[in-house]
Symmetry: C2
Subunit: 197 residues, 2 copies
DNA sequence: ACCTGAACACCGTTCAAGT
DNA sequence: ACCTGAACACCGTTCAAGT
């Protein structure tokens, strides 16, 4: 890549990150180009689709997420690792408002620029889930795609301004549902709702 | 309302229902007007915002949902009533692709044409939840807004083509989390995941 | 190689002019 | 009262022309 092209690309990414952080993934590409001081066609040349732009913006976060899954697999208990990683996933998908809809669309669309990242992410989650399932601390009637869907749904909730205040609590509710609720004697981290008044 | 205006309105609603069923809530209003054989300005005169149009389209469903909550309150057990109603809610929010985002936005926006319907819906859900909580069959650490959020998240999942096949199963997972998991001896309808191989 | 302006076919909003 | 076409300021896509 020519030096001027590289500079344009980097600058576009920086501006796009700022604009999309501010306005969400539906931000006007024309506006991003304008603020970056280049023509819209130049932006499209570097990032032929909105997905390609988002992929470039999220690549670092996605790579970190994959690496973190690997670390957690050795450093934490199966249960803690799974929940901690899910929390990171939600935070990552929440990085740009509205991006989670693009991610769910990309998981099955092999043409999407975001497809590879999504599949990698799902694979990492599947491993952590399988580990917890093998340890008897996660329910066995869900798979990696279900996990992906639940993370997406929770990230979506966090994107809805009126429901954002509830998203942390509802994360706990859903995480609790993913973990096997009983059967294993070790109850140190478990709080089940008490219904006595 | 003048007779010709009434006729225009009814026809617009019929066409809008068909187009939005087909293309989702972001369908072009211009296209709807075109297919209805009127000017775009005429559509906007009857329905000043997209929300107003959706409200008109969904009003019957919403009213039925409220009525159904009342019936279930007397005809079914607290637990069955809650779950059945949640299922209906998801189905209703799923009626037009993408409408659930408008509904979550409307719950706090008193200016939205959909606001009243959302609040009524949440109130009906809150009653069914309180009844189940009083009976000891629903967890007590969630409220009507949490319930609204969970229904919205599940409806959103059903809207994502790649995740639609999982939405029924994930409904069960989340519904299970809403119901108190243990403590009551009656286990007839409960299946907890068994982890023994 | 890389960039760009302009043409294109859309969108929702607004309003003066018609019946 | 009710309807409408047209003007407006946007949008993303495409491409011939420039450096």
């Amino acid at each position: 890549m020519r030096a001027d092209a590289r500079k344009n690309r980097d600058h576009l990414l920086a501006i796009a990150g700022a604009v999309i952080t501010e306005q969400g993934v539906d931000a006007s590409l024309r506006d991003i180009a304008r603020r970056a001081g280049v023509g819209l066609a130049t932006l499209l040349r570097h990032f032929p689709t909105r997905e390609a732009l988002l992929d470039a913006l999220l690549r670092t976060s996605f790579d970190e997420l994959t690496a973190r899954a690997g670390e957690l697999e050795t450093s934490s208990s199966p249960e803690d690792a799974l929940v901690a990683w899910l929390r990171d996933c939600v935070a990552c998908a929440h990085e740009y408002r509205g991006v989670v809809a693009l991610l769910t669309a990309a998981i099955e669309d092999t043409e999407s620029a975001l497809h590879a990242s999504c599949v990698t992410m799902r694979a990492a989650g599947t491993r952590l889930l399988a580990r917890a399932q093998a340890a008897g601390t996660a329910r066995t009637d869900i798979d990696g795609t279900d996990l992906f869907a639940l993370v997406a749904a929770l990230a979506w909730l966090g994107d809805q301004p009126s429901l954002t205040p509830r998203s942390d609590h509802l994360f706990d509710v859903v995480a609790g549902a993913i973990l096997a609720s009983a059967e294993n004697g070790d109850a140190e981290e478990k709080r089940r709702p008490q219904t006595r008044g």
